[in-house]
């Protein structure tokens, strides 16, 4: 573990905190103009670092370092449109920014207030350009209580966080509240775990507080092993606002009576690991972690553990086993982790987003928090809206918003104008939701009622070109690989489900297969040791429930209506759409396509290996898969 560069914390009392806050606020607001460049993993993949570099160069060249700070922030959420740059104080929202735009962004837009039309977001149907971030439809319908700060702070600078009010909830908790009061407040708020299961957080805290430890030691853990494919909310929270998570953990530890905490973070998130490491370091330097925090008498520190690449380690008992140097196998939880968790001591494990909600609840009060959301699902939830939707990215919405609002008002509808087919929520533990249920409010219980679940927040939108058998196949394949292998129902049952679905997808399905899948699914759900196995049948059973005809088409007619399952489809070229551009001829690895310029091409299906290269490259939709 890295040592703090200062052994004496910078801030030792509440008075010092408020003085420092004033200083940092002044500094933050002294410069009205600043440029916020999204530095989330998504935008980095899109080249935002080069953009930030160029912006800094232009600023330096023109001697503007003291006038225009540049903040490389965490994820802004609108990943589809990255790299994103927001010019403050007007909050002019620029999207798809390239390094070549840096000069005008600095000199014309930031310094002179000019609005660069060509970089603005344009609402597709209305052909209208939007200037301010909050007017972009993607953001307009969101309620960014947790995520909103991402664009305004430099995650590597704790002073930004403090300037904007950070660690004030901690101050209130340590000096104006008793531990039991804090727990009551969290209970009253109705906060439920954001990692997937939705267990009432306050109740969990209460049971850990009440539990007896053999030597008085208790732990708090932040589960940052976000393993659901398609979900990256936790990653972006840690990358963009790590201190909000730390603050929540410190408050929770104080309420529970723990003096040691851990962040367990998956290895596939190197940037998030860097940010949380730095944040912990800075928190120690400034006095929010360590001995006698702010002079309260409460001591607490946080260590970091990396995952080794196992989805099952997102399960609390498996996570703790791997933290003890063992394989990540879960154990039966008849005795809860709150009684006997890490090293057999009472442990409170919560998800990243759950911890990040805590400072908000303490600052604004449980009543305010409970006024948002539905009766049993309070507050907001961050979702990753991905797949065949126009506006992919991270969104934060109040519980109770409908799926239709999310997909159409925020998501901008289906990409390419195609038809909506289903939305998958809850990752490998969840299920597909069809069009008929689009007006379902997003809420823990409502989603479970229809055969899916909230899960960690992944929302995968699917169109008519997505095969529902293939989706089920994808998930059982994933679960077969990720199953720890300890218990028979999951290890043997899930892979036998895969065996059957593989057969169906390859055109070898037989009568009774669907009934067999349903029979297996029910017993696997009942018999499995942990949540992975218990929820493994969900993607399959929900797909069968809502898209039975598609399954039957695969089994009875040996057809894949969506044109996906390789063994059941043939590639061909539609002579009416083909313009004879010859773009598909070279990429074909088997040279199945012949044709002359401006004449419709012909595909020899007997040689075709269905690799999809021609489909990928054709701009006229002339390659047909059915």
């Amino acid at each position: 573990m890295a040592m703090a560069t200062r052994n004496i914390p910078l801030i030792r009392t509440v008075e010092e905190l408020e003085k420092a806050r004033e200083r940092f606020r002044e500094k933050y607001y002294s410069v009205k103009r600043y440029i916020s460049v999204c530095g989330g993993t998504g935008c980095r993949g899109g080249g935002c670092l080069a953009v930030a570099e160029e912006i800094k160069n232009v600023i330096k060249e023109n001697g503007l370092e003291n006038e225009v700070p540049v903040r490389l922030t965490g994820c802004h959420g609108f990943c589809e449109r990255g790299p994103l740059v927001v010019v403050y104080p007007q909050k002019i929202f620029y999207q798809k920014v390239k390094p070549v735009h840096a000069r005008k962004i600095v000199l014309r837009s930031t310094m002179q207030g000019e609005i660069l039309e060509e970089l603005l977001y344009e609402i597709p149907e209305e052909r209208k350009k939007v200037v301010h971030e909050e007017d972009v439809p993607f953001y307009k319908h969101q309620m960014r209580l947790i995520f909103g700060m991402n664009g305004m702070i430099d995650p590597e600078n704790i002073e930004d966080y403090i300037a904007l009010g950070g660690y004030s909830a901690l101050k209130k908790a340590l000096f104006e509240m008793q531990p039991e009061q804090i727990i009551e407040e969290v209970k009253k708020s109705g906060l439920r775990g954001r990692g997937g299961a939705g267990f009432p957080t306050g109740r969990k805290w209460e049971s850990v507080r009440r539990a007896k430890s053999r030597d008085g030691i208790k732990y708090v853990i932040c589960n940052a092993d976000e393993g659901d494919p398609g979900a990256f909310m936790d990653r972006s929270l840690i990358e963009g606002n790590p201190h909000s998570v730390l603050e929540g953990m410190i408050i929770g530890a104080f309420a529970i009576g723990a003096h040691q905490g851990y962040v367990y973070i998956r290895r596939e998130y190197p940037l998030a690991l860097k940010m949380i490491t730095r944040a912990i370091q800075q928190a120690r330097e400034y006095g929010f972690l360590g001995e006698n925090i702010l002079g309260s008498g409460f001591s607490f520190d946080i260590g970091i553990n990396r995952g080794g690449g196992a989805f099952v380690c997102g399960e609390s008992s498996a996570l703790m086993a791997s933290m003890e140097g063992k394989v990540g196998e879960p154990r039966p939880k008849y005795v809860h982790m709150s009684e006997k968790g890490l090293w057999e001591r009472p442990t409170c494990l919560n998800n990243v987003e759950t911890w990040a909600n805590v400072p908000l609840i303490i600052n604004k009060g449980a009543d305010w928090y409970a006024s948002i959301g539905t009766e049993n699902s309070k507050g907001t939830k961050i979702f990753s809206l991905v797949g065949k939707v126009n506006n992919t990215g991270l969104i934060e919405v109040p519980m109770g918003i409908t799926l239709r609002q999310v997909i159409y008002d925020i998501g901008g509808g289906i990409k390419g104008g195609r038809k909506f087919k289903a939305v998958q929520t809850g990752g490998p533990s969840g299920g597909v939701i069809p069009e008929s249920l689009l007006d379902l409010p997003v809420d823990f219980d409502r989603l479970t009622e229809v055969g899916s679940m909230m899960g960690s927040g992944g929302m995968i939108v699917m169109d008519d070109r997505t095969c529902m058998v293939d989706v089920a196949r994808y998930f059982v394949n994933f679960l077969t690989e990720e199953s720890c292998g300890k218990c028979v129902p999951c290890r043997e049952g899930v892979r036998r489900m895969k065996e059957i679905i593989d057969r169906i997808a390859e055109g070898k399905g037989k009568r009774g297969d669907i009934a067999l899948l349903e029979e297996l699914g029910s017993a696997i759900a009942d018999g499995s040791l942990c949540g992975l196995g218990q929820s493994a049948p969900n993607p399959v059973l929900s797909s069968i429930k809502y898209f039975r005809e598609e399954w039957e088409a695969h089994i009875k007619q040996k057809k894949c209506p969506a044109g996906v399952c390789k063994e059941l489809i043939t590639y061909s070229i539609d002579p009416e759409k083909c313009t004879g551009c010859m773009a598909c001829i070279k990429p074909c690895p088997e040279q199945c396509i012949t044709g002359e310029r401006k004449k419709p091409h012909v595909l020899d299906a007997s040689k075709c290996i269905k690799c999809g290269a021609c489909f990928d490259v054709c701009r006229y939709d002339a390659v047909v898969r059915q």
């Binding site: 899109g46 990256f232 972006s236 998130y269 190197p270 990396r306 791997s322 003890e324 140097g325 991905v386």
Partner: protein, 166 residues
């Protein structure tokens, strides 16, 4: 086809490196995964001697260290290639064509997912969602993310690992 690797540089060098890594984590058994990951990064796999050293230093039975080394996807008991191509198999990437992309890599690199070329030049593997879903399909080459990986982009990656680019 995958091959057994040899450890160059001698045993002394390995011992020193492993000791350094153990110290880096204060010989804390709860940091076993991080310790093994650092060894994996340095040697491109987990040599037997390294596992034995870790077992001895941490007081953890070799059978347990070996179980951990084989349980997690991060670890490899056989050396990986100089180039590592990882195709993201997240759901969003899947619906955007990741499986066909993986097929292409397997076909043109002559190895299956999870394998390393005989000359240890490259390793192909699938990886769980890296959280860059808006950029799908995502391919990671030696830790660098390549978003919107089309078949054409895949071609240039293949050329690069085969040492065919300038």
């Amino acid at each position: 086809m995958a091959t057994e690797g040899t450890l160059g540089g001698g045993q002394v060098c390995l011992c020193e490196k492993v000791e350094e890594i153990l110290d880096r984590y204060n010989r804390d058994v709860s940091q076993l995964i991080s310790i093994l990951q650092d060894i994996q990064e340095d040697f491109r796999y987990l040599p037997k001697e390294a596992l034995e050293k870790v077992s001895e230093a941490l007081g953890v039975p070799m059978a347990q260290v070996y179980a951990v080394a084989t349980f997690f996807k991060a670890f490899s008991l056989k050396p990986k290639g100089r180039h590592v191509i990882q195709v993201c198999m997240g759901t969003a990437c899947h619906v955007r064509g990741a499986p066909l992309l993986l097929d292409k890599f397997e076909r043109e690199l002559g190895i299956k997912s999870g394998e390393t070329s005989a000359d240890l030049a490259y390793t192909l593997e699938s990886v769980n969602c890296v959280g860059a879903c808006a950029l799908g399909p995502v391919v990671i080459l030696n830790g660098e993310l390549e978003g919107h990986c089309s078949q054409a982009k895949a071609d240039s990656i293949i050329k690069k690992v085969k040492g065919q680019t300038s």
